[in-house]
Amino acid sequence: MVQIVISSKAGEGPAEWLLVELQGEVVSRQNTGLAGNLMGDLHYTKEGVPVLIVGHHILYGKQVKLEKPFETMETNQENPTSYTVSALIKKKLIFKTRPKPIITNVPKKV
């Protein structure tokens, strides 16, 4: 039988990460892949509402505390049957509303 040990890094507790949940898929404009690219801008309104701008779309979301927190784990390079907890996720920003296109140039009526 395999026994895989999961431990958190000695000393400090795990870092806290934020989860951002989107409905749908994120693709890069020219299909160049996602890695290394700017995804978008995250803003918070005065009331604390998260606003995400991706490309020319704007999405409104909300902050939600996770009922069951997530933990992320990574394998140990030297020891494949051991994982270390890298982060703990207690809350998420979820964007469920339909993205609205941002129109910056409204032509004047002729």
Binding site: L18, G24, L42, Y44, Q63
Partner: protein, 352 residues
């Protein structure tokens, strides 16, 4: 499956102490902490989950009275799936099965060494059983296993009864109260018959250990456990017994002063009050399948219709964290009323 685990994955969990994932190649993986066991199930979502280390939420940002701030945050990665943990009862049937490969029936006689056979240390058991350490330790106690020379051994039942017999006979000859059995005298008087560690183990299994005012170690024998074991000894020798004959023999076999009562046999024996004469037979819960569906099939093939009272001891351990036996029955059985009594039968045709 254990070999499906990805290089980095996300688990829903709430604790941080040492966690271990256990499972053979063909078993479903379970996650254990010190005293609990969880099923690991992969879940996926059509939503995109992005992980952003250190990203702050409004409550964590200082008041924006000053000029707007631009913070760079990197998305570490994304996923569509994650692992979900669900608390489950540990799979412990394998533990007894392993220990029964080589039960202990007393020290080797004369110059002979003990016959060779598989033996397991606690580490060996942790390697093979899908349960947490504490759950394994609790089950070892339930099956009256003991550690001999570093190996966990289950006692051969006849040997266990032999030890118990020595103890109860001594209690009788010394006219002790069942609740005041002194350890030191037991070891002194019985040490020549059996190893002292075995005598003490027997007392630990069948009694409650405490200290009296003088600091002496005393045991209070458990009437229910002693009577139950005596019943098993009698029942295992025949398929069925005439109930009233059995009750007579049973009462005569238990130590004088103890009362043998049928309620002591829940989960050990099954009564058939519909047959003439009424009968009783051995049916131990540990001999039944561990899987819920298989357990119900097995019970319904033994008997077509069960009352809740009769079936309850045989399904009690199947209940989930907040489940009742009633809920289990609603899910896995069909009820009807027979002679004014509510009975349960299988939802599907079973060969009897």
């Amino acid at each position: 499956m254990v070999h499906d685990l990805l290089e980095s994955f996300i688990v829903m969990s709430v604790f941080f102490i040492s966690l271990i994932i256990r499972g053979d190649k063909d078993e479903h993986a379970v996650l254990c902490n010190e005293d609990e066991t969880y099923d690991l199930k992969i879940a996926d979502t059509s939503n995109l989950l992005l992980f952003v280390p250190g990203c702050k939420t409004p409550d964590q940002l200082p008041d924006i009275s000053a000029s707007p701030q631009l913070v760079h945050a990197q998305i570490w990665g994304f996923s569509n799936c994650y692992w979900e943990l669900r608390r489950q009862r540990p799979r412990l049937k394998k533990l007894k099965k392993l220990l029964m490969e080589n039960p202990y029936d007393g020290p080797a006689v004369g110059m002979q060494e003990e016959a060779p056979g598989p033996k397991y240390t606690m580490d060996d058991l942790l390697e093979r059983i899908q349960a947490s350490r504490e759950e394994i330790e609790a089950h070892l106690q339930n099956v009256h296993a003991c550690e001999i020379d570093g190996f966990w051994r289950i006692l051969d039942f006849d040997y266990e009864m032999k030890l118990l017999g020595h103890v109860t006979q001594l209690v009788d000859s010394e006219s002790w109260s069942f609740s005041k059995v002194p350890l030191s005298v037991c070891l002194e008087e019985l040490g020549s018959l059996e190893p002292k560690s075995m005598i003490e183990h027997c007392l630990n299994c069948y009694g409650r250990r405490y200290s009296n005012e003088d600091g002496q170690v005393i045991y209070a024998l458990d009437e229910d456990k002693v009577c139950r074991a005596t019943a098993q000894l009698l029942l295992q020798n025949a398929v069925k017994f005439n109930l009233s004959e059995f009750q007579e023999v049973w009462q005569q076999s238990v130590p004088e002063g103890m009362s043998a009562r049928l309620d002591q046999l829940r989960g050990l024996a099954l009564l058939d009050r519909s047959s003439k004469p009424e009968t009783i037979s051995l049916l131990r819960i540990e001999d039944l399948p561990e899987d819920t569906l298989e357990r119900f099939n097995s019970l319904f093939s033994l008997r077509e219709k069960w009352t809740q009272d009769d079936i309850e001891p045989y399904i009690q351990d199947l209940c989930g964290e907040k489940q009742t036996t009633g809920a289990l029955l609603t899910k896995h059985a069909r009820s009807s009323v027979q002679n004014g009594v509510k009975v349960y039968n299988s939802r599907r045709p079973i060969a009897t």
